[in-house]
Amino acid sequence: MLELRAINTFRGPAHVLRSLSLRVGDGEAVCLVGRNGAGKTTTLESAINLLPIRSGTVLFKDRDITRLPAHARARLGIGYSPEDAGIFPDLTVAENLEIGRIASRADGAAGRAAVDERVRALFPEIDALVSRRGLNLSGGQKKMVAIARAMALAPAVLLLDEPFEGLAPVVVTRLVEAAKRIKAMGISLLIAESNVTNATRVADRLYAIDRGEIIFQGDPRTALANTDVMKTLRG
């Protein structure tokens, strides 16, 4: 579905991602785990092209999209929810969702209505918030609206950057459930997460990243049993 092949990405002069390769299969939930500053956000931003890569290849459904700008990638079906949720503060929740709907891949009015219905079923609590402005949402509400907004694109793969960070445990559980339901819809997930335990609640497969390099990939249980990996991840 989505593949990064030997990408190198810089932030200013800093060489952040070093020949990083990563694959998300069809309908698969993949977690990218690492400490703060390891390169998780940079990986996701490279995948959507909010940060241009210096070298390497990005493939989506076996098509080379390395040269496509962010908006074209979104329209192809890559949904993205950033770490800070990226809610437009002066737009209402309804307008925030409308942005996703405008570029939606869903066909015709019926297709869009079906996507709307799916998003509503995923987060019924958003119904009560539609007229509220983005800046008046709580942290958990922002994360939900950001995921719902990305879902309005009718994506084939969803990139979630730290979706559980800073949230109360009950909200985390709520979002973990939502992630599982998104996966059940056949949508692939790539989740950047610093908490290994949270990652193992969702992931089919796990990548561990440290200093811009993948140091482990495989089954989440194997990662938990690997003391070297756990030591690196927990610092």
């Binding site: 962010a70 908006h71 979104a74 437009f88 503060p89 570029a103 939606s104 990305a150």
Partner: protein
């Protein structure tokens, strides 16, 4: 009573023109974070092209039809904007603001010289248009009909622009891009397209302002710079990037100019700058701006 009403109408008349210029300046800054120094020159382009178009066919068409030609002035400024943004401004977005300021300032000088080259140093006029409107009697006061027309155009532009920005899908994209350009692009919004459209709309409004003022004051060299300075005062008071700010700023400056002409003509501009300075001191982002 008559004098008061006349002064209120004069204030609204000035405010209409100022709003037409300042709203585009504010829109472009709000969406693209560019202070367009050439904005006043696009206002002048609107005036010159409208005057030229009217002069070209004045002897063939009835005056009422000539009014439609004012739209050609607005369209010419919009077209100039649609060409200038992708060619001259787009390459500079990754650079510091000084580059954009220098570029738009250079553009101001080039446009001024181009207008001098094409239309010569003498003013172009089309006073037949303003004379076509008979004076109107409003509650006992007699007021030039064309000035009422300008007030109506300004009011309609304010309502139309507001509806466009707050009630259409394109408006949602525009506001989203202005608030978080990166996130908008990650959600499928083609930011380059939004930029060129925003810049074109800004120039269209400036061109419309120039075109409607032309039958009264003519198309004159230097009119763009004068307009730019007043537009800056408007947006400093109202808040750069805010449509409501442009409207309220235009109303304040319009009222102060009207009062100034009556009571303190010598220091009229100084008073305006003083108000702008006080606003900057108390609310650095302007009355409606967000710091």
């Amino acid at each position: 009573m008559d004098t008061l009403l006349t002064q209120i109408l004069n204030s609204l008349f000035y405010a209409s023109i100022l709003f037409l210029i300042a709203c585009g300046l504010s829109l472009v800054y709000g969406v693209m974070r560019i202070v367009n120094m050439a904005h006043g020159s696009l206002y002048a382009v609107g005036a010159y092209v409208a005057a030229w178009a009217v002069g070209l066919v004045a002897s063939y068409l009835h005056v009422s039809l000539l009014l439609v030609l004012l739209l050609i002035g607005a369209a010419a400024a919009a077209l100039a904007g649609a060409l200038l943004e992708p060619t001259l401004l787009r390459p500079l977005y990754q650079r510091p603001e000084e580059y954009q300021l220098l570029m738009t300032f250079g553009l101001l000088l080039i446009l001024e010289d181009l207008m001098r080259m094409v239309w010569g140093p003498y003013p172009l006029t089309a006073s037949a248009l303003s004379e076509f409107f008979p004076s109107i009697s409003v509650l006992g006061a007699t007021y030039p009909g064309y000035n009422i027309f300008v007030i109506v155009v300004g009011g309609a532009a304010a309502v139309g622009l507001w509806a466009f920005i707050y009630r259409t899908r394109f408006g949602i994209l525009l506001r989203a891009t202005s608030q978080n350009m990166r996130m908008a692009s990650a959600l499928g919004v083609d930011v380059k397209r939004i930029y060129v459209q925003a810049f074109t709309i800004g120039c269209l409004m400036a061109g419309l302002g120039g075109a409607v003022v032309m039958p009264l004051s003519g198309a004159v060299l230097g009119m763009g710079v004068d307009a730019l300075i007043l537009a800056f005062v408007v947006v400093v008071i109202g808040g750069l990037g805010s449509l409501e700010g442009a409207l309220v700023g235009a109303l304040i400056v319009g009222a102060v100019r009207t009062l100034g002409i009556m009571y303190f003509a010598e220091i009229e501009l100084a008073v305006l700058y003083l108000i702008a300075a006080v606003v900057l001191f108390l609310r650095p982002a302007g009355l409606f701006g967000r710091a």
